[in-house]
Point group: C2
Chain length 347, copies 2
């Protein structure tokens, strides 16, 4: 198992936080680091432009608490795979390098998803038997949360990759969400096995016989939040659009609701009575609160925080990363991949 | 222009209502027909099993008001394209035949979407220059509604088909929603032109130079309800999943909300103050209220009501169909397709 992981409770290497990635970088990233260190007791290093970061830390009177690792460059939010190749010294590349060397336990970035994925694949490499990493997000379903993957790492997939994503998702649900024998659903346009495009039809066949997968068949868009299954598998194009549609709809519905309940005096009074409860609900459905997406299948833990993350979201993402490292997610995934390569060894 | 359409206000041929399609067929379909005839003053014929339908009509004391056209067979909700070939006398096939013959002005069905699409293509044929019909739904955005297509007719598409869907959507937005020069967006996983899979990348290129299309570029899942564009183009797989995800999220959010605001006495009091407003909002976001989806690109008007439609939804779908016929949607679409085949003729 990699040096940068342990389940023994002994001290973890710090989390490498990409301080230059995100709409509110570096200030909110630094504020998030300060929160993670002071309020959550986590160990964090900031990766980015030293002078900028030192100034930001000083404003929090935290220059002595949080180390800085220099990175001359950064990927802009709109930059993707190509830029990550052109910038071997970007903050995200340096953060990955720290994990590779064992000087950090995980990477957290609110930077361009495409950039983080490409850099992660390049610097951390995929685990043996995992050709393509996938982005997993945790949906706030009840009674158990639901893992959706791929949420955007692979716009073009083969049926076999969808089976692989299922394996990653199951390992993640077992490890991070503590769900035994997670049920897997394939995101499709109908419940029947023959529905959908060529790729999902074939994936449906493969999943029904895949070792170690408790396949519940196809699920549809309206099942995303019903908790019908524990792991929802999709290609990165469909998964990303489904996730953003869900986020946008939640934002829209609550926006409309806010307007609706403030359009009359009685309603405002009612709103006063309920605001706290409604806020509570909105918060649970707010993507910022999911604590970010996790890039699974690499030889290291990478958490991608929402690009719009403020300090709270960044700190939550650090917590997610630290927990995954403690749980030994990378090892658990490699074990499952190895086992499912030799079915008879799995049970 | 087809006999079954006119903008002149002279009497329309009746709407052929597939009485055997839908989760609540035939009773709720018949009840919807009775409502459409009595409350909306529409002319409707019911297509299906005569004895069943006569009994249902008699319960509404409407046997004299609404004619029945015999169809020996029906497609089950789970049946698709193949079944529609095997059952030339299904209620949906007979309904299409009535339109083909000019004995009906439009088809309304709450039956299996795949079955309605396959039967419509087979019995009504595509318009010249329209190889594949697309399902258009109208999203309740403000200030203008937004047309999303394809919502599920074509699980597998070529880039050229997405351009065609854009033409259908623009004609629909102009005709049915009275929007001048509708703005078209391509559903994708990022705003940049180079984002997405091969199909959407190519479609993005084609749309930027397509005659008669005011292309606004890519939009993402969270733009579905912002009204950023008037027409959203997607392949039927992605579009269907985005639509159902939106529907499921609305249902989930309001379900959660209902629980949230009834968990305490004060909250219940607040709920009492607001229930009407919240119901009003939920209603606007409720797919049942969109009045159904429209199958565009065929030589006849076909409205697909939600499979779960009750009388109100069925009646609303009949209204949508009657309005489209009055507006001459089929003619407007053929004119646009013809014009965009000879760009210089368009402006």
């Amino acid at each position: 198992m990699p040096d940068n992981e342990d389940g023994t409770g002994s001290r973890q290497a710090p989390i490498a936080l990409d301080a230059m990635g995100g709409d509110h970088a570096p200030d909110e990233i630094v504020a998030g680091a300060v929160h993670a260190v002071r309020e959550r007791g986590l160990s964090v290093v900031l990766v980015g432009a030293p002078r900028l970061l030192h100034e930001a830390l000083t404003r929090h009177d935290a220059a002595a608490e949080i180390p800085i690792v220099r990175a001359e460059e950064a990927l802009a939010m709109h930059e993707g795979a190509l830029a990550s190749l052109r910038r071997p010294r970007s903050s995200i590349a340096v953060a990955c390098h720290l994990v590779r060397r064992g000087d950090a336990s995980a990477v957290v970035s609110a930077g361009s998803t495409a950039g983080v994925v490409a850099t992660g694949r390049l610097r951390l490499r995929g685990l043996t038997g995992v050709p393509r990493p996938a982005i997993a997000v945790t949906l706030p379903t009840l009674p158990h949360p639901t893992v959706l993957l791929d949420a955007g790492a692979n716009a073009e997939v083969k049926p076999e990759m969808l089976v692989q994503f299922a394996q990653l998702g199951v390992a993640y649900a077992e490890t991070a969400l503590d769900i035994r024998r997670p049920k897997v659903g394939l995101l499709n346009i109908g419940a029947e096995a023959e529905k959908g495009n060529k790729t999902v039809k074939r994936a449906n066949e493969l999943l029904s016989t895949a070792p170690g997968i408790d396949f519940a068949g196809n699920i549809e868009g309206h099942d995303l939040l019903t908790g019908a299954v524990n792991v929802i598998v999709a290609d990165g194009f469909t998964g990303n659009i489904a996730l953003k549609t869900m986020e946008g709809t939640v934002r829209y519905a609550f926006g409309e609701l806010r307007d609706t309940i403030s359009t009359s005096r009685t309603a405002r009074f009612g709103a006063f009575l309920q605001r706290s409860r409604i806020r509570e609900l909105h918060k649970r459905l707010d993507p910022e609160q999911y604590g970010g997406a996790v890039l699974l299948g690499l030889n290291g833990t990478v958490v991608i925080a929402h690009g719009a993350s403020k300090a709270a979201g960044v700190s939550a993402a650090c917590e997610v990363a630290a927990t995954l490292v403690r749980q030994g997610i990378v090892t658990r995934i490699s074990e499952r991949i190895a086992a499912t390569h030799r079915p008879h060894r799995l049970w």
